[in-house]
Symmetry: C2
Subunit: 349 residues, 2 copies
């Protein structure tokens, strides 16, 4: 893709730790398909970041790079206009991270509420890996390397974007330059999809996810097991739609808003069985996901092509990141050979 | 230099934050001149590490890269057999650091007594920079990239070498390989030279250093101001040589051990003036340092040659580090294009 256009830049991406699910789809994936036409979009497959809390399981990360890429292509990310790349293969990001680590205090990292929450969730047995603790700085490297203007995120990730913006301001001030671009969060209007158990966020680790690659039978079974309104015991009872995962999913996926509105009214006044609503959701999801599954199978037939897409995207990303790193190092005067060091007679005197 | 010999590897080096002084000379520099014949020696000019607590002063680091290199060459480091290189220009070291950060816990870093002491000394105003906090991991990258067997250090640096050895064991165990080599500390038998004020270690920040590039007058004045035995008030008084900086320096630099032994006895039994001992030390130091100063001036006449030496050394170092990084990434299965990822039907199921 051309990097000479004046389009604003989006950086988005995923940690390749599992297949993508409806939560990802609603929270970010489907926006990317739209955003790629309006912005210069980079999608980072953050394998190095995934390793910060999966150091002993690199095979999982490796495998999911492929799975995630298949998901991207299947939902309609077009590698001709979106740059999909692998983080670890852009070493410039590691270099930027090292320099940014000097501009952030340990205390500041400890205060990051996103990281605090994530550390709590993960219950690291052997202590919090330093790499995990520092990942917001590594994310700042990812973001700034591409001079991203906007980062599509859920509300829970805002502190990480703020950390990046802080590093940008600190860098530009410290080195008296305008090299780095301050990123802004692009809030998704549907950032959090509950799991099928109605509890918390949909996630692989909670076992409450419907995956983009699930087949019709799996979808049917998962929807059948979904939590609805626990007070809706008899069909004739009035049901609640607030906090009812089945209706939240319908809101997110059912394109027939009129029919959905009628369904909601019926459920609320009573006389509508959960099964009926779940059948509707099953149909809607299968309708939405089966073309994705078909596309995915098609792409999976030619893995050499997938690897070629990743290779090309990574090369493009590397070129952009190398340009930024060069500007960063020039600002820091780490350009000893292009601007040879001279004797300063007043120095050290 | 050839990297195919079976010689064991030494990694040593300096943070380019100031000119080198007698403390460096006694503690490590003069050993390097001997070690370069017996070992394959890499000398790292650790500019990136120097930036961890000098982020806002890159010009100082830049200038001192040149100063330190001149010191190396002046004392007899031979760039034909020792590889002198600049840390920031070997980006493989940043990559290794990122992977190693995942193998060390935050709590472990907090326990490092060397780092604890250094943090205390530095009294960071804006909080401890995360880069500084993590520098033992970055040092592990420097050490392991060259598969160094021995690291010449003072006793105060032993915990940092232990941290590196721990990372090596953890890496080799986690990735079931033997890629990394466990480094050992090579303790200097004269690791700590007091400052001219007799207090603590000689250091630029304490203003108690005699530099390798000091001229005869400066040396004379610095020795004149040195602390001796505070109870040695009259010439006729017996003097103490224990803890007496002038005698510690003589022990380190005076090659005429017989004359020195007589001087000590005379001082201890009384009747020997501090001035006499100081004059002896001045002569010894000028005798030792003037050929170094001459060499230094000679090298400083051709800075293009100095930059060429650094460039060549850095290229050689980069080649070795790249080879190690490749082995490291292979062990972690981060070799997606050379070993393309295949579909695993049992995966994520």
């Amino acid at each position: 893709m051309s990097t000479t256009t004046a389009k604003e830049v989006i950086l988005t991406g995923d940690r390749p730790t599992g297949p993508l699910h409806l939560g990802h789809y609603v929270g970010s994936l489907r926006q990317r398909v739209e955003l790629q036409n309006r912005y210069e979009q980079f999608i980072i497959i953050a394998d190095a970041q995934a390793l910060t809390d999966n150091a002993s399981n690199p095979e999982k990360i490796r495998q999911n790079i492929l799975e995630v890429t298949l998901d991207y292509l299947a939902i309609g990310i077009d590698p001709k206009i979106t740059t999909i790349f692998i983080q670890s293969l852009v070493p410039e990001l590691a270099e930027l991270t090292m320099y940014y680590l000097n501009l952030v205090s340990v205390a500041r990292l400890q205060l990051n509420p996103t990281v605090k929450d994530e550390i709590k969730q993960r219950q690291f047995g052997g202590g919090v890996p330093a790499g995990f603790f520092c990942y917001p700085v590594s994310q700042a490297a990812d973001i700034t390397a591409f001079k991203a203007n906007f980062i599509p995120v859920g509300a829970d990730q805002i502190p990480v974007i703020e950390q990046s913006a802080e590093i940008v301001r600190n860098f530009n001030r410290t080195y008296n330059c305008t090299v780095l671009v301050e990123p802004k969060a692009l809030l998704s209007n549907f950032s959090r999809l509950p799991g099928t158990d109605g509890k918390g966020k949909m996630s692989k680790s909670s076992g409450n996810a419907i995956y983009l690659c699930d087949n019709a039978d799996t979808i049917k079974n998962k929807v059948k097991s979904m939590y609805t309104d626990p007070t809706h015991l008899k069909v004739s009872d009035p049901g609640r739609i607030e906090g009812n995962a089945v209706f939240i999913y319908l809101d997110a996926f059912d394109d027939d808003k009129k029919a959905l509105s009628e369904l909601k009214e019926h459920y609320q006044r009573g006389g509508l069985a959960d099964t009926t609503v779940k059948n509707r959701l099953t149909d809607v999801l299968i309708h939405k996901l089966s073309p994705i599954a078909t596309q995915r199978k098609e792409y999976a037939k030619d893995l050499a092509q997938i690897m070629a897409i990743l290779k090309k995207g990574t090369e493009e990303a590397k070129e952009v990141a190398a340009k930024t790193l060069c500007e960063v190092k020039n600002a820091m005067q780490i350009n000893y050979f292009s601007h040879p060091i001279k004797i300063d007679p007043t120095f050290n005197s």
